[in-house]
């Protein structure tokens, strides 16, 4: 009898969703499809440097011909050549170790900020975030200044007679770890701080009231309650670090080759687009589970899923 009226809330309109949705489909989804397609193509001395090229004008015949020319050669190469396997493993190793280091350094920092006087906290958070607003490249470059052979670190160590000859800090795994931890620290501290800050202080009072010493209360109350922050921070660091390019390229040596560098080399130096695409697809497959896990965490944080 009555029309099912819809109460239009501000922002509930269809256009609001459509605009960003279309943009993302065009600039996010479609590119991935293309990457997948090219990973199945073959290198060619042509422009673009791969075949086959999808020519929709050729109709159904063209489509069948297109499908016939697809091959898994690139993937075969990935599986057979040890270089790629080592790169993947190296990336996972670097990502894992640096995430652990980030947790080790970031947690006390976040905890310290959460426990500082209320009024000071926003300022401290801003101080942690501020370097992030300056160039990523600059910050990595700053470490080159310090770590190079005739750089500041060696200079200080020599003057303090801790070492006799300048050490090669650069071009090593250590340098990469320093660079990663330095660059990604805000990504770890912020989620940790956010979840630590939410913890109700009266819970710790209750723990003390029930006979828990300070360190035990931390272990049994604070730490478990901060798991969401730990998970978010760890994922937020681990996933991008796996594919890092700039840091290993500038600070790492020629011996350490992470997958991001491999991809770059394949693409820019070898001009082998299919293989580069295959590397990207494989990397994405590798990271799919962590990425989905992170998204689930995000949704839970904003209250969409229980």
């Amino acid at each position: 009898m009555s029309r099912r009226a819809k109460v239009k809330r501000p922002g509930g309109g269809r256009l609001v969703v459509l605009i960003p949705y279309l943009w993302l489909i065009a600039f996010f989804l479609v590119p991935f499809v293309i990457v997948a397609k090219i990973s199945l193509s073959q290198t060619a001395m042509a422009l673009p440097p791969y075949t086959p090229v999808l020519d929709l004008a050729a109709g159904w015949e063209g489509l069948k011909q297109f499908a016939a020319q697809l091959s898994l050669d690139s993937y075969a190469l990935l599986a057979s050549d040890e270089l790629y396997l080592r790169s993947y493993l190296k990336s996972l190793e670097v990502a894992g170790v640096s995430t652990a280091l980030l947790l080790l350094i970031g947690y006390p920092m976040a905890y310290g900020i959460a426990r500082s006087p209320r009024g000071l906290q926003p300022l401290l958070v801003m101080l942690v975030v501020l370097p992030f607003w300056t160039s990523f490249l600059i910050r990595v470059y700053a470490w080159i200044n310090i770590l190079q052979r005739d750089g500041l670190l060696n200079d200080v160590l020599l003057r303090l007679h801790i070492i006799d000859t300048p050490l090669a800090w650069l071009a090593s795994d250590t340098a990469i770890y320093i660079g990663v931890v330095y660059s990604y620290l805000p990504f770890m501290v912020l989620p940790l701080y956010a979840s630590l800050e939410k913890i109700d202080p009266t819970l710790l009072e209750a723990a003390a009231d029930l006979g828990c010493p300070r360190w035990k209360a931390f272990w049994r109350v604070t730490l478990p309650l901060s798991w969401p922050g730990v998970a978010a921070g760890a994922l937020l660091c681990f996933i991008p670090v796996t594919g890092e390019f700039v840091i290993p390229d500038l600070l790492g040596g020629s011996r350490t080759l992470m997958i991001g560098q491999t991809l770059w080399t394949e693409f820019f130096s070898n001009r082998d687009w299919p293989v580069a695409s295959a590397i990207a697809v494989a990397l994405l497959a590798l990271l799919l589970v962590p990425i989905l896990f992170y998204e689930r965490l995000q949704k839970r944080a904003i209250g969409e899923t229980p």
Partner: protein
Amino acid sequence: MQRTSAFNVVSVALGLAFLYLPIAILVVYSFNASRLVTIWGGWSLEWYRELLRDQPILDAAWMSLRIGALSASAATVLGTLAAVALTRGRRFRGRLLFSGMVYAPLVMPEVITGLSLLLLFVASGVDRGFWTVAAAHTTLTMCFVTVIVQSRLIGFDRSLEEAAMDLGCPPLRTFLTITLPLIWPAVAAGWMLAFSLSLDDLVIASFTTGPGATTLPIRIYSQVRLGVKPEINAICTIMIAVVALATVASSLAAKRGAMRRAREGLGVQV
């Protein structure tokens, strides 16, 4: 929870020192008259002069600023729309895919997004250059805007919007005159973040750029591979100064706004 122990103070102080020391060193050495990092040759503006003579770097800086401004603005609009759609919109088909696409760039390795975008441009035959980099940056940074705006929208008091509609304001105008002014700090923060990320990006710009569209990070990177040049210290210091100034200016503006409103409130009585 407020008991500040020595351990806490030390860990925060050390952490902040670790973060700022390299930057401080870089800034100081941009004024170093000597070319070598280990020798202090006195204060000098030599490298800044050198910088001003270096046309390619200046061009690259200008390019980056333009791309940054454009992509940040586009990303802010798109990101805010996405945030609104995710927090206010009803269950629409494909919501899962939408939110997946929105959050993914947060964690996706840049080499993957860069590569995929380049392949898109090649496949569609678009000439690569200023516009492709801007589009790429917009896509990358809009998710950051979404996250920031969304967290602000979630705590937003809906009864204010209902009150406005109750008083005769249609939904769209309500959003523009009531909601937006109240969430604008988040939107502004989103813009700033998008701008910084664009200014800063090397990987995606390298993939999606074309002839004549060298951005500053690309230029710096190519120089750095050849070794440390003091000029780079100078341009880096300038970039740091710009960002620091912008941050300070925006927080001052926010404070000034609050003070002005307080003065107005206490003021004229009929």
